[in-house]
Symmetry: none
Subunit: 532 residues, 2 copies
């Protein structure tokens, strides 16, 4: 079997987090989340980012409009959809028209290869299905886009009727598909099976680029993906952290690390971003990255056994398959990507703050960050709060205002209806700007809105530019789930001035207080950025 | 091993949950937990249960005493330890004496096969290491126990010096080891590598039984285990749910299901216990079984996509690799805006509510669900709220209490420090239970805690069982239909009565009101479940 490693063959990475990943239970992205993930995956060096299904919903349509104006440095965005419908010419098909209208340079269309799926799920003839595939691919190619053909249920179909499954692939290949991605849709196949079938298929259609798309239902998604590459596939589909329907897709990050570190392939230039990307996407989904995620999880290089720990002290290779630093992770349990001095200096630099040549100060900041992370803070998406923290240590922080106190009152009466709207909130804050003291009361539907309104009133006279600073997202996480409503709450706010976006974070046992502190950071950092 | 061996090769299952599993971060078992797990694994049909390290701690010594008096129907218990120490004769070694004193019918000893490990970690000669292995195995065999030899770091050792690694195995084999289990200790190997090495080793020592022990550091533990079986191994080590050091061991349950359902092997007679065993052991560890665990997780057969859901209604094989019933799990159709009538009826049934034969009512409920989902509700994880909603439509809902009004006050003063603690919350609620009216005030660090306390006070006299209902998770998500702090907030609460867990959801522009409504649903559904 193809164990031998060849050096530097590039394997195309195709990320489906925003489409297939969102099929996972409990996973949903806002439009802003999706755009931030695109930015991050692009910076990481992912080749293709599947953005969504523009024929299906307004959020995805807006996504393709917004993403078209982004300056991506490397990645191409793919729009996902189906072949034309049965009995409809490709150029008449509204679904294909929507895909083209998305403006995405790559269009991925899913089509059937399993005779039973054609007759029972699609309810058409085998010939018509081949026509749909051929016409759809060739029409899309004629319109100037790159076409990826997702061969749904391919492995089951090939098992049931290999000749027909291959006929469908041949149609897609002849029509000009740039890649044919074999989908192990139900996730039940084992590695040896995948290896054999991909070997046969790549030999049957020489010169055609093949990709692989696996699900983890038999616990083999990563292995199946690697076996497909060993058998000749050169494009790998997956999702960040393996998010996806049922038990999820192949974890693209694990696949990338395995291909690059263990199979001598090339996927990305900077593998040290791996852990950061994993945590970033998990944060966007508001889920915790499972600690036992290979390479990127908090426990991935954590050691507990006394036997192991003492051997480790002699040499790390004793119980570590790779260096944690190679994938941006750390030996033992560390809270975030900011664990080392060098990464803090790098991060500060990206925020416009120079920490070079000040090792003692860096250590002091790192200690502060670690203490706060131990208390529940997470700076992974909160660059605004991190910048303010660093500035406080640098002595360059100049708070624009200071709080004396606030009081929030929420009143509610019994209500009915899907969206209750009758609660009222009122916030009174007492604030100092320089020598002046302001008392302002804001109303709002919710308590954070009331605080926000009060804050804007109180400082609006001194800082009229606060009107340009707008909260765009507000996330809340409960950190210690075992203690119910008294658990520690982490609030993360995303704020925009129309051009830049920044995150801020605060932690408290009181959700209102955590919200207030994150809100203050968001406005403070906004004013600081504006040079006020 | 029963009738199945006539047609299917039996693969010996070796569970290491109680020893290697406990090396996992956050995993620990009490003595009682360990005994209950032994009982459960025995009933499930596991062949060998590794109980612990009797030379290392009093808990494990007590375990072997207690387990000796249990009437196990099938499983044999193994005691785990090391070979004799360097320079010590096997019969003089206190560690081996402890293993024998445990009374376990199987003794598993770990030994080194990697020359570098011998010289650097063990700090002895290659010859002395072979002597330690040979003498230890043959002494233990002479004392009447079955011996499993765990060949630590075998794959790395074989890569570095295959002749030496094989020499160690040959010593164990000649000394009478009943099984030699090849350990992929660092977890970094890939399936094709495992297949090749196990093939070579089984050919080099024909007639010897081999086992396999894998870790998941490259995301391939299950696949590596299966490949070893394909290459000739007939004993599989693993842990329930893959618990274990770093990213964990091969999940023995997934391995068993794959071997039995997909590779035609026999492991256990009743695979429908699989999901129950997974949840039982997770409960013993006080951790939640990850929803995306293959076969046994809550999401393993959950479907969300509209495309998939409609095809599933035609035939389940469309998007399921195996029948969920085969492994004691169940199909779940996630109710979401994509779902149809059939899935609502199925979902209601799983909640104990019969909607069959009432198409108009189903349509009415579906319209309500869709309207609520359009307003931001999500019933994917909120079974409790969905059940209450269906009951309201069925006319079987009997609210245990109704709200007249609440008022929440949060006070804060300026503070510093990583975790602010000085805010105070107070909630006053006015509630009716039947004809009685209760006014109660609760305090809390946060406003939701204050409301929760007030609610428990107000209804505690009428429903003392509310004390058994506990909030275990509380999630907040800001939906981006509008921006900023007046955005719509979705609160999802997970509640437990110690046995069952349910989710509730509410949506409001006011985070406090949404929290309140989700809290009310959580208590209401809890009381309803209890039949109050």
């Amino acid at each position: 079997m193809g164990e031998c490693t060849d050096t530097h063959t590039h394997i195309v990475t195709y990320d489906s987090t925003l489409r297939d990943g969102e099929q996972g239970e409990g996973i949903s992205f806002s439009l802003e989340d999706k755009l931030r993930i695109v930015e991050r995956l692009d910076a990481f060096g992912i080749d293709v980012i599947e953005g969504g299904y523009p024929a299906s919903n307004p959020k995805d349509i807006a996504f393709f409009q917004r993403v078209a104006s982004m300056q991506l440095s490397h990645a191409k965005v793919a729009a996902f959809g189906s072949t034309c419908r049965k009995g409809v010419a490709a150029q008449e098909d509204t679904g294909l028209a929507d895909l083209l209208a998305s403006g995405a340079p790559i269009v991925t269309i899913v089509g059937k290869c399993h005779e039973e799926q054609v007759t029972r799920a699609l309810r058409t003839t085998l010939q018509e299905n081949v026509r749909m595939v051929r016409d759809s691919v060739s029409y899309l190619v004629s319109q100037g886009v790159e076409v990826v053909f997702d061969a749904e249920h391919f492995f089951d179909g090939y098992e049931a009727n290999p000749a027909y499954a291959l006929e469908v692939l041949r149609a897609a290949s002849e029509a000009g598909a740039s890649s044919i991605d074999l989908c192990e849709t139900n996730g039940g196949k084992l590695p040896m099976h995948i290896y054999r079938v991909v070997s046969e298929v790549t030999q049957a259609l020489p010169g055609q680029r093949f990709g692989i798309h696996c699900h983890n239902d038999s616990g083999c998604a990563v292995a199946n993906t690697l076996m497909a590459v060993a058998a000749g596939a050169t494009q790998v589909q997956g999702t960040v952290n393996g998010f996806g329907e049922r038990v999820g897709n192949a974890d693209l990050l694990t696949v990338i690390a395995d291909l690059q570190l263990k199979m001598g392939k090339h996927c990305v230039d900077d593998l040290t971003q791996l852990t950061g990307v994993a945590n970033f996407v998990a944060e966007c989904c508001n889920v915790t990255l499972p600690a036992r995620t290979p390479y990127t999880g908090q426990s991935a290089f954590a050691h507990k056994g006394g036997l192991h720990a003492s051997a480790l002290a002699r040499y790390s290779a004793a119980y570590e398959h790779e260096s944690p630093e190679a994938v941006g992770n750390e030996q033992r349990v560390l809270v975030s990507e900011l664990a080392g001095k060098a990464s803090l200096v790098t991060k500060a630099k990206s925020l416009g703050l120079d920490l070079s040549g000040q090792p003692n100060l860096v250590q002091e900041i790192l200690d502060d960050v670690k203490a706060r992370e131990a208390a529940g803070y997470s700076y992974e998406v909160a660059d605004g709060s991190l910048a303010l923290l660093i500035m406080r240590h640098l002595g360059t922080s100049k708070p624009h205002f200071t709080l004396e106190s606030f009081r929030v009152i929420v009143d509610d009466r019994e209500d009915e209806g899907a969206l209750a709207r009758d609660a009222e909130s009122e916030a009174t804050i007492k604030i100092h700007v320089g020598d002046a003291r302001y008392v302002a009361t804001g109303e709002g539907v919710g308590p954070v809105g009331a605080l926000d309104n009060a804050l804007r009133q109180a400082i609006g006279e001194s800082y009229p530019e606060v009107a340009n600073i707008e909260l765009v997202d507000f996330k809340v996480r409960i950190l210690d789930e075992s203690v119910g409503t008294n658990a520690i709450t982490r609030v993360t706010i995303t704020t925009s001035d129309g051009t830049h976006t920044w995150g801020t974070v605060s932690v408290s046992e009181n959700i209102i207080e955590a919200s207030w502190n994150a809100l203050v950071d968001s406005v403070e950092y906004g004013l600081t950025r504006m040079g006020k």
